[in-house]
């Protein structure tokens, strides 16, 4: 560890940022912060960062940014200022600005400590432990007009007149079901068979039969078009017959 580190713990984690580290280093100059030598401070900071790097400690980027900034400031402070060349803020101003930041941070730290040392509620002073709650008596004024009343009556007495209409959907034998059933049973139709033989046996009710016949007939048309079966009807309204066509 370098001498410049001055026994400081080389633990970056122990500092709340570069300004905190700078303040700690400045305090070690053991002078009033108003007389701190920024040049000397920059040197110490750079030495600290060097030492930390030497130990391969992980250093957050903002410490490095500050190191670069201080190196720049140092070079500017050491060089005589050239009035003909105006590049950026005056070095003295920058140094004064940094000194101000250090003084302000230190002042805020001191203020924080004094604030925290005050008698605090719940620690040093106490409020009434069993306060009497303020009883809020809520008076509710109900707003109802005669019209509300009449409308209410009208609403409730007409409600009974309307019972919701439930339309029961009739059972429909779907075309897909008919196609499936025909496909499964077509093997038995090696000779002409009446279409009724292919109706679902459990569809007995007249309306259901009608639906089953319609869907089954539509399904035979579909299969006939595909060339899977042949259809015939001898006379108008006569029985419809079908037969499988062998592939």
């Amino acid at each position: 560890m370098s001498e410049e580190a001055d026994g400081l713990l080389l633990d970056i984690d122990g500092y709340e940022g570069p300004l905190d580290l700078l303040l700690t280093l400045a305090r070690q100059q053991k002078v009033d912060l108003r007389e701190v030598s920024i040049l000397q401070l920059a040197d110490r900071y750079l030495a600290f960062i060097d030492a930390a790097r030497h130990l391969r400690l992980e250093i957050a980027a903002d410490y490095l940014v500050t190191a670069a900034w201080l190196a720049y400031l140092k070079s500017r402070l050491l060089l005589p200022s050239d009035p003909s060349e105006d590049d950026g803020p005056d070095a003295e101003e920058m140094a004064a600005r940094l000194a101000f930041q250090l003084r302000r941070l230190e002042a805020m730290r001191g203020a924080a400590a004094r604030l925290m040392a005050r008698d605090r509620l719940g620690r040093d002073v106490f409020a009434r432990g069993a306060p009497d709650p303020l009883v809020v008596e809520r008076q509710t004024e109900w707003r109802v007009t005669l019209l509300d009343l009449l409308q209410g009556y009208a609403r409730s007495s007409t409600r009974a007149a309307y019972t919701p209409l439930h339309v029961e959907r009739p059972k429909i034998y779907a075309m897909e079901d008919a196609l499936r059933r025909l496909g499964q049973n077509l093997g038995i139709a090696l000779d002409w068979m009446q279409i009724e033989a292919f109706l679902p046996p459990d569809w007995r009710e007249p309306r259901m039969v009608r639906s089953a016949v319609a869907s089954t007939f539509a399904a035979t048309l579909e299969l006939a078009r595909d060339g899977a079966l042949a259809l015939r009807q001898a006379e108008p309204f006569g029985p419809i017959e079908l037969r499988r066509i062998s592939p």
Binding site: V135, V136, W142, Q151, T158, A160, A161
Partner: protein, 216 residues
């Protein structure tokens, strides 16, 4: 303070009586639960006499806005009872009566005396206990005569306050069904045709004083 001298001998004099009173005052002020003399003495410097401090404090607060009282052998500060009004504030909020309450009230008004079952029949839904309680509370309805039918159900009738609130001379002033229809308030003829029954306003409130809780 009997052992005060002994304490003094050890160089730890207990605080003086005023100081002990301050301590008891602070403890009783900040505590959540009433405190016993023993509990206070335990927290005070050795040689303190909490009982005496409490006696002094009690006298000091006598007649003040806050007084020291004894609760089950323990002590607590309480607001003087005559000042309770200061800790109360009144707020008036206007609220709309629920739909269920408006409908129930209107059915009672038109059908009175009406039993709960009759109200439910018209509304088609159960009437909640809360709805009837609210209307009774507002004193817009009261209990009428029991119906002389099986089970002797109680009936509900409207009150003077109800008439007052709605600016009605009597319940006969409520518009009839035909008028409601004409006003466009009734869209359809209800089944069975509902007529406004003649009410018996001179029904006496014989049942009112009965315990209401078993009525519903």
């Amino acid at each position: 303070m009997s052992d005060g001298s002994e304490q003094k001998g050890l160089g730890f004099a207990p605080p003086d009586a005023d100081e002990q009173e301050r301590m008891v005052e602070a403890m009783l002020f900040s505590t959540v639960e009433p405190l016993s003399v023993e509990a206070m003495e335990k927290r005070m410097p050795r040689g303190s006499d909490a009982a005496e401090a409490v006696r002094r404090l009690e006298a000091r607060y006598a007649g003040r806005g806050v007084t020291l009282i004894r609760v089950a052998g323990k002590w607590a500060f309480r607001t003087a009872s005559d000042l309770g009004f200061l800790l109360r504030s009144e707020e008036t909020a206007t609220r709309k009566l629920s739909r269920a309450a408006v409908e129930t009230l209107s059915i009672i008004a038109y059908h009175q005396p009406a039993t709960r079952a009759e109200i439910e029949e018209v509304r088609g839904v159960a009437v909640s206990r809360g709805t009837l309680d609210l209307l009774l509370d507002l004193e817009w309805i009261r209990l009428g005569r029991r119906r002389e039918t099986p089970g002797r159900p109680v009936t509900f009738v409207t009150t003077e306050m109800f008439l007052d609130h709605f600016g009605l001379e009597s319940v006969r002033d409520l518009p009839g069904i035909q008028e409601l229809k004409a006003a466009g308030l009734l869209d359809a003829q209800p089944q069975g045709g509902i007529a406004v029954r003649e009410t018996e306003e001179d029904d006496d409130d014989e049942t009112v004083d009965e315990d209401q809780s078993d009525l519903f």
